[in-house]
């Protein structure tokens, strides 16, 4: 056909805006700003309680060390949530990958072990993705089944015990520090950077948000939806695998139980960071701050001598508070009686009202989630 470019006959339109105003920027990053405030408050409180321990360089590095692995896994989890599902098998994936990597390390050396570990993680994600996207089994069932299967298989392979992963250069991936920077957070930041490029600059990244936001629209736009959904779970699996390698390096063993709890912690971090179960929304900067908040909270509680059980309770409270704040801001909660329905909607347990039938905006005003790095 002839040239379709509409510019040739474009009437001189009123000067539009192609960049966000400061107000729009604030509104777009409101979740992040809230999390920053929350993080600041936490640090302030713990620093007042334990002034000699909490606000020290060593403690910050300790927090960073702990946060690195969760950051890598939570970024992967965010992709699974954004595409419209979630992955309960990331913890089991970490355990399995740690065992596989430790065994490969003994047999083949560091570089092959790392590559094998990442491939194993990706393969697990591929299996999840094929079952979810092609066979349309629910993500809950698929990834929970995968959790059981991998836990068992990993114990079979390791005969139920730990596999030594003790090699000097393997320690660079979780145990030692890169100069000042703990290696886990170093890897975490590299992954964050790559993920930003992925979400903001690649076609797949765009489609993760597109499919999560409106599967039907993408299908009608000719996008092979199942393929991209599968790839997304593969990335989630590979990042969980990376988390498993880091965990193995950190404690110098591969072990089935290394990733226990990461499935829920990664979901919590992503949701605190603004991801919505159901898909279409999820921001890397939010996930980063969600991880920072959760880790600062647990470390802080640990420093003040609170028990692990109480730390779990605190995370539960933090999760609900974070989510309620975002609901209040989104206008979905205006009365106290709106709290429960809004929360159910958020968890995907209740249907969301489409559009502003009752004058309730369907979303925060401005927040294209793919624009983490392009603002």
């Amino acid at each position: 056909m002839t040239d379709h470019s509409p510019a040739e006959r474009a009437p001189p339109a009123a000067a539009g805006s192609y960049r966000l105003s400061l107000r729009d920027w604030t509104s777009k990053h409101a979740t992040e700003l809230q999390l920053l405030v929350g993080l600041g408050l936490l640090i302030l409180i713990f620093s007042l309680i334990e002034p000699s321990i909490y606000p020290t360089v060593d403690n910050v590095r300790n927090i960073a060390r702990q946060a690195g692995i969760l950051l890598v896994v939570a970024i992967g989890q965010m992709f699974a949530i954004t595409v419209g599902g979630f992955d309960l098998s990331v913890g089991a994936n970490m355990g399995f990958t740690s065992v596989a990597t430790a065994q490969a390390l003994g047999a083949h050396g560091v570089a092959p072990a790392i590559i094998i570990g990442l491939l194993v993680g990706a393969a697990i994600g591929l299996a999840n993705g094929l079952l979810i996207a092609k066979l349309r089994v629910s993500p809950f069932v698929v990834t929970m089944a995968m959790l059981y299967f991998l836990t068992g298989y990993s114990n079979v392979r390791s005969a139920g015990s730990s596999v030594i992963a003790n090699h000097p250069s393997f320690q660079w991936f979780g145990r030692t520090d890169w100069g000042f920077l703990p290696s886990t957070i170093g890897i975490g930041l590299i992954v964050l950077l790559l993920a930003m490029v992925f979400t903001g600059r690649t076609r797949i990244g765009l489609y993760v948000y597109g499919i999560g936001g409106s599967r039907e629209t993408c299908r009608l736009a000719g996008i092979p939806v199942a393929r991209y959904e599968t790839i997304t779970y593969m990335i989630t699996g590979m990042l969980a695998g990376a988390g498993g390698i880091m965990a193995a390096s950190r404690v110098s063993v591969g072990q089935t139980g290394l990733g226990a709890g990461y499935e829920l912690r990664s979901i919590a971090a992503a949701v605190i960071g603004g991801a919505v179960i159901g898909g279409g929304k999820g921001r890397l900067s939010g996930v980063f701050l969600g991880v920072a908040l959760m880790t600062s909270l647990t470390v802080g509680l640990g420093v003040t001598g609170t028990s692990t059980f109480q730390q779990q309770m605190a995370i539960g409270v933090a999760l609900v508070v974070a989510v309620l704040i975002s609901q209040v801001r989104g206008g979905r909660i205006r009365r106290v009686s709106d709290v429960v329905p809004a929360f159910l909607q958020l968890l995907g347990l209740a249907r969301r009202d489409e559009g502003g039938d009752r004058g309730i905006p369907a979303a925060a005003p401005v927040a294209d989630p793919t624009d983490d790095d392009t603002g």
């Binding site: 379709h4 539009g16 192609y18 409106s214 039907e216 629209t217 009608l220 000719g222 294209d368």
Partner: protein, 535 residues
Amino acid sequence: MTPAEPAAGMLAGAPAVRDGSGDAAAARLEGISKSFPGVKALDDVSLDVRRGEVHALLGENGAGKSTLVKILAGLIRPDSGHIRLDDAEVVFHGPRDAQRRGISYVPQEVQAVPDFSVGRNMLLGFEGPFDRKGKLTAKDRRLTREALDLCGASFSESAMAGQLSVPELRLAQISRTLLHPGDVILLDEPNAALSENDAAAMLERLHTLRDQQKAIIYVSHRLTEVLGIADRITVLRDGHAVGTFPRAELDKDKIVSLMTKDSTLGDRQPAGTVEALERVETAAQRAQPVAATNGKPLLEVDSLTSAPNLLDVTMSVRPGEIVGVAGVQGSGHGHLLRAIAGVDGYDRGRIAVGGQSLHPAVVRHAYRAGVVLVPADRRASAIVPGLSVRANLTLPIHSTARRAGMRRIRRERQLAREYVDALGIRPANTEILAGNLSGGNQQKLALARALVSKPSVLLLDEPTQGIDVAAKAEILALIRQLVQDVGFGVVVASSEFEELLAVTDVIHVMSQGRLVATFPTGEADYERILHAALP
């Protein structure tokens, strides 16, 4: 009427008792008005229905038929007006109230819990505290069986609803009304999902219900059918009742003119469209006509069949031509576009672009051949509300704003700017969320996204559905102008005939899956299209 014992009401000798009340209205609506944001759906409408009578409600899309029926079913509360049952005024706070007062409502969509038996579905809402999901009591079985028999249903009351066909489920829904305590039955387009034969069989059942002294309000698009069954007919237009007539006073022509013309004001277009048409006509005059309409067909559709929605449809589109496909709801005009776009498969026939056949049901293949659909349900299938305008424009699989899978942000911005300006999307900000645009601007965005793919055939399914008059006019003018400028072929499917009259070169009319008439737009008028479109 005793609300407590649902099943005891109607099946046994009740009609005999009520013989004497034959001419008193079982239900009466008086001066009902209802507004929705931006529209007055009903304005001072009155209606009554007697026992042993079928009262048909006719009108175009948006005339207010469904709203009226839903008010009587307790689903919508009127802004003003009264509802009387057997001369006693009632106020419904919800559908359950209406049900208790003896009103049973069969909605437009066929609904059932697939994993429950037919009997369990029919008794839904009437369960005692110890009724089990899987098992019907002997009494329940007897009652449901009787009702099904009366309606001539051959399937078992213990069959799973999920295994029944749509007509069978519809029959079960209608039988269900016999279990209700009351006498008023509301049927909202009960045969919209049915084939001709099934619809005819269903009409037979209405006679049975009428003989049971039920008071039936029947909403339909199908004139012939209504004329065959109704005792009285009320015609609605733009939320007003044009009048209520005994069946004997009306024929098809009379009804069509009642539905479209205001007898006191002479010819008129439905509200708001006059201005729209003027604006489009001005735009059309501005642009010089292209002489391309004699060229070889760009798109050829040959005997396309996908029963029961498409039956032997043949049509073609030439470059620079805008072809309209008119049809009322359920006529298959939307299915036609979805089949051409590769969204839905079909049984038989051929779709070719530039002589090349397209694969059935492969969207990507259609895209590659230059056939791009702008779907009807904007929010659900034409845009991604949670992505920015710019990201939405970058979505299609073949985009010039990418290289080797990497997005070229600068090119994206430039592209988005071009299209936002060219199509006049407001606010002119490429970074805001698509979901925050108004309906008209979302439609422009959907159009822009289709244009980004540089189509040779553009398919527009209900392009102005649910958007305001000004935006409507703007979009129609835009379509016209794009065709003048670019010379691609366009197919517009719409149930709003006046918009087809405004933009198309030729109009095909579809009814019940078939192309029933074709008019060059110059020779068509609203009434002729409607006449052909109504089955």
